[in-house]
Amino acid sequence: MRRIAYRFLAAISVLVAYSGAACAAPRPHYGGTLRVMLQSAPDTLGIPADATPADYWDMARTLSLIGDTLVTLDAQGRPQPSLAVAWQSDPSDRHWQFTLRRGVKFHDGSAASPAAIAQILGTLHSSWTVRASADSVTIESETAMPSLLAELALPRNLLLKRNADANNNNESRPPIGTGPFLVADWQPGKRLKLAASEESWAGRPFVDAIEIEFGKSLRDQAIALELDKTDVIEAAPQAANASQRHGTSSSSSLSLPVELLALVFSANSKARDPRLREALALAIDRKPIQSVLLKGAGEPAASILPNWMTGYTAVFSVQANPQRARSLLADSRQPVLNLSYDASDPQAQLIAERIALNAREVGIAVQVSVSGAEDIRLMRVVLPSPDPATSVSEAARQLRLPLPAFPAATLGKSSNLDLDLDDLYRAERGLLDDYAVIPLFHLPIASAVSARVRDRETGRPVDWNESGLSRADVWLADSRSTDLRSTDSRSSDARPQAARR
């Protein structure tokens, strides 16, 4: 029911946005360089398996400017065409065939042929058997791949070529993709300059170039945006939330919750007794943390997946119950637990200390530290896909929990609206039953964009969190270097807009 309402509201929003744009949107024009600042300082243009959430999102958003995936998912988790325009699978979901878009070329001028795509996919997934045919690519596996579409939509499956260097190391070389921008200059850890691709299958972007500066703190980014020295920055969700409430010259936006902040007990944690872990879960009062430390951003959580994905998070109680926690401990002597947090996360220390304070109330001694032998870790987990099954599996992988086993009937549905919630709930509950993980909050990611960065369709400042700058219809309002071009040639259905918060 909630999802029906949600879809209804989203549809209304889109209609209002389009009607507004049709009436009052200024006309977009070409030219200009879009300036972006990011916190992360990557040495290579790739997504490492152990990337922090901040690095993950930075690199995912950066690489999505350069490359494309075979398919994408919309906000509801429905697969949408990208480099593949059609697909089909056999009943066992072991054999998939993707029909590729014709005439697509990599930035180096080579054709994005089925053979080239098959080679890239084969390199990314050694367990797959990828074959190319005349206009399609087939993917085969010995096990069923019901969630292959969601998997292929993940940023790690961006179709990027890397030419090997003299040392036969292709990771250090900039990737070559089929996206709207190509790599013009790459200084590892410092700067990336992207130039508009004239040959992009989605059409030439309005902006001529994008300059991304890496390694900038959130404070420096905010100052730079305030001084008009950059156009797009990251933002702490709580700061973006406050900015939205108070109103500033720049446009701050929050995504849907796409991260999970959770306490994770390490394998050799002293908290071996599940009752102790449950008592800690019951001791934590999430509401003050959300209202004061997160300043309203994020949602108190007791489940892995956010409510916008599942709609059933209400059955996971987020209410603190210190009395119950004390009764669970039953005056038994508890070990002193060491709670560590990510020092690069500005909010983590305060949240960890608050959790330690809550724990002390019920008689659990928790020491907060940045490093050292940890019993519990406060960590963020990326929920990378709108597809709940994929996200919960990815979350389990990051949390080092056993991967949930979904019935085949649950997976491979056309969207999360069609999932069997009972199976999903049971899978998620199974991961949380022994309190090895205590979900705390579902957090959005946030960004702030200067007023001159406009969306082609609405004429308003863009939301980088969801639509991304990879959309070719981002333009700079004060750029006068290039004449207006017709927008008819662009594929408006190539990247469906995600629902905005």
Binding site: Q238, S291, E353, A356
Partner: protein, 628 residues
């Protein structure tokens, strides 16, 4: 113990006693002085602590007042009164203000007592603050912008403060910023720890410890010195426990002595000063505050204990120095006493020793011994008296010798008269018979002549015998010494009398021989000793005409042997015993009186002595002692 030793002992004892009395007196005085100084130091440190406590309290109160009057706090108070304030905006506000005022603790608390912002524990927002309670803050005080005094001056008070790393003790002050109806309380403070102690001017030999009474049980980590947690201080736990117990009824200061090691110098005297805090309302007690609930009534909780320790080392070292000095002085005194006593004793006892030496000489017969009189004191008089005594003895001896010589001559004359009278009378009668026969019966003269001639010859022989005996006595030979076994002599003599004893009184005289088998040989003339022993045995047999028991004993007495001959005869009177060894004195009818004189002469020539013991009608014993 000799007089000299007595003098030495007396001197040494006197010196020792004097040194001991003086040392004890000095030690007692110094000890009292030290204890007084110790008390003065402790009181000075305690007064300094209180003064510093009040000064810091005033300073904290001033800082808190500055914070309460700051623009930031006034703005927050205004926003709180307007409503709709975002508490998330204030989380780090207290830390900023605390850094500005250099306060260790600072909390902004709303009118309901909930923490808006905490500098010391930012995550503590929303929790109630125990110090803000109806009991602790009166409305009147708040309206005047001050807090009722709970402990020290300017409203500063001690309070336990929970921190992420554990509880600690702080000195706090509370002020209220009142912009609207709802006050905004500012609670600021500073740690009461080693940093606080380091501000005290602590005298040498004194140290200050602060125990933060944060837990119900003794926690050694809560005992701080200037460098942080003090090490090896478990022995202080009983002192703190005593303070806790004493706090039930009084806040009196205590004193305790702690022996850190077996060395007395490692003893420390602690003056213990309890530090109390205010009583907070139990209903507003911070749930996060794990301290025990405050006691009921007006009893203030014990927040800390200040321990001012004074080392006994200087006192003990001085005490040891006194003892060492006393021993040194005592030893020197004894040495001086010995030397002095030697000198003094020599001065005092020299006449006495000379007197003793002279007495010994007199004892051995040297009556010429004289003592030199050097002084006119008692010892001089004694020496003069001794000299007079020896002179008298010499004169007495001369007189005695002369009398004895006269008596001996008289006795000799008597004996000679007696011995010669007997043969002379028959000679006279025989010669008269010859003359009468010549005159009256010449016929019978020849017959009478022959008879008379025989009688005359017999009596002349008798006179020759008497003269021979006297001649023999005068010719006693000097002993020819050689190793001689006296036991063998005894056996030899008994063999001579064996036949005599069997013929005469065979059943009446019993011979008992008790000889020392271990009797050593002596250097003696066996012939002379044989003759002496023979005389004694013969005398004993003669004394037992009616029979009896003859006993001969030999024994070893130190450096000499004893030979005794006893009989159970008629015995002798005391007078007879006194004259027994006088030559020619005899108690027998036909004795010459030379037998015992010969015995005495033999014994004397061997360097021995002879004595006699006799009881009338019971018997007589002769004892001869001879040196080896």
């Amino acid at each position: 113990m000799s007089f000299r030793q007595k003098l030495l002992f007396l001197f040494a004892a006197t010196v020792l006693l004097c040194v001991a009395v003086i040392s004890a007196s000095v030690y007692s005085t110094i000890r009292r002085s030290f204890e007084q100084a110790d008390r003065d130091r402790a009181n000075a440190v305690a007064a300094q602590f209180r003064s510093e406590f009040q000064r810091r309290g005033s300073e904290i109160a001033r800082k808190v007042e500055s914070v309460a009057a700051s623009e930031a706090v006034q703005r927050i108070a205004l926003e709180m009164n307007r409503g709709g304030a975002d508490p998330g905006e204030y989380v780090s506000e207290a830390r900023t203000l605390a850094n500005q005022q250099r306060l260790d603790f600072l909390e902004l608390v709303d009118g309901n007592g909930s923490i808006l912002s905490s500098a010391q524990w930012q995550a503590k927002f929303g929790y109630p603050e125990a110090a803000i309670s109806g009991a602790a803050l009166s409305e009147a005080a708040v309206s005047e912008g001050r807090t009722p005094s709970t402990s020290g001056e300017a409203g500063a008070f001690l309070k336990r403060e929970e921190l992420p790393e554990g509880a600690t003790l702080g000195l706090f002050a509370v002020r209220a910023a009142r912009v609207g109806e709802q006050p905004l309380y500012v609670i600021g403070g500073e740690r009461l720890d080693q940093g606080f102690l380091s501000t005290l001017d602590i005298p040498t030999g004194t140290r200050v410890l602060l125990y933060q009474n944060l837990e119900a049980k003794w926690d050694p980590k809560s005992l701080l010195d200037l460098n942080g947690p003090a090490a090896g201080v478990d022995k202080i736990a009983p002192l703190v426990a005593r303070v806790r117990d004493a706090m039930q009824d009084t806040t009196q200061e205590l004193t305790g002595v702690i022996h850190w090691t077996t060395d007395a110098a490692d003893t420390e005297v602690f003056h213990v000063i309890p530090l109390t805090g205010p009583v907070f309302s139990a209903t507003n007690q911070n749930p996060a505050n794990l301290s025990p609930a405050p006691p009921s009534g007006a009893q203030r909780p014990l927040m800390g204990v200040l321990l001012v320790g004074s080392s006994r080392r200087p006192l003990i070292e001085l005490e040891r120095q006194i003892v060492s000095t006393a021993l040194l002085v005592g030893g020197a005194g004894i040495l001086v006493a010995v030397l002095a006593s030697i000198w003094f004793a020599a001065r005092v006892t020299r006449p006495v020793v000379a007197l003793a030496e002279a007495a010994r000489r007199v004892a051995v017969g040297d009556l010429d011994a004289k003592v030199e009189v050097e002084s006119t004191d008692e010892l001089g008089e004694l020496a003069a008296a001794f000299n007079r005594m020896t002179e008298d003895l010499v004169q007495q001896k001369d007189r005695t010798l002369q009398a004895e010589r006269v008596a001996a001559w008289r006795e000799l004359a008597r004996r000679l008269a007696h011995e010669l009278k007997n043969p002379l009378f028959p000679l006279q009668v025989t010669v008269e018979n010859l003359m009468r026969a010549k005159q009256k019966s010449p016929a019978m003269f020849d017959e009478v002549f022959e008879e008379s001639t025989a009688t005359l010859l017999a009596e002349i022989d008798n006179l020759k015998t008497i003269v021979g005996r006297f001649s023999e006595f005068s010719k006693m030979p000097q002993p020819q010494r050689r190793p001689t076994q006296v036991n063998d002599l005894v056996q030899s003599v008994l063999r001579i009398f064996h036949a005599q004893l069997r013929e005469k009184n065979q059943t009446q005289i019993v011979v008992r021989i008790e000889l020392d088998e271990a009797l050593p040989e002596i250097l003696a003339d066996p012939d002379l000793l044989h003759r002496a022993l023979q005389n004694l045995v013969l005398n004993a047999i003669d004394a037992m005409s009616q029979g009896g028991e003859l006993t001969i004993r030999t024994a070893t007495l130190g450096d000499r042997i004893e030979l005794s001959v006893s009989d159970t005869g008629s015995g002798l009177t005391q007078e007879e015993c006194g004259r027994l060894f006088t030559p020619y004195y005899t108690t027998k009818q036909h004795g010459t009186g030379l037998g015992l004189a010969i015995v005495q002469s033999v014994v004397s020539d061997h360097g021995g002595k002879i004595s006699v013991e006799s009881t009338k009608e019971k018997g007589t014993t002769f004892r001869i002692e001879l040196p080896f």
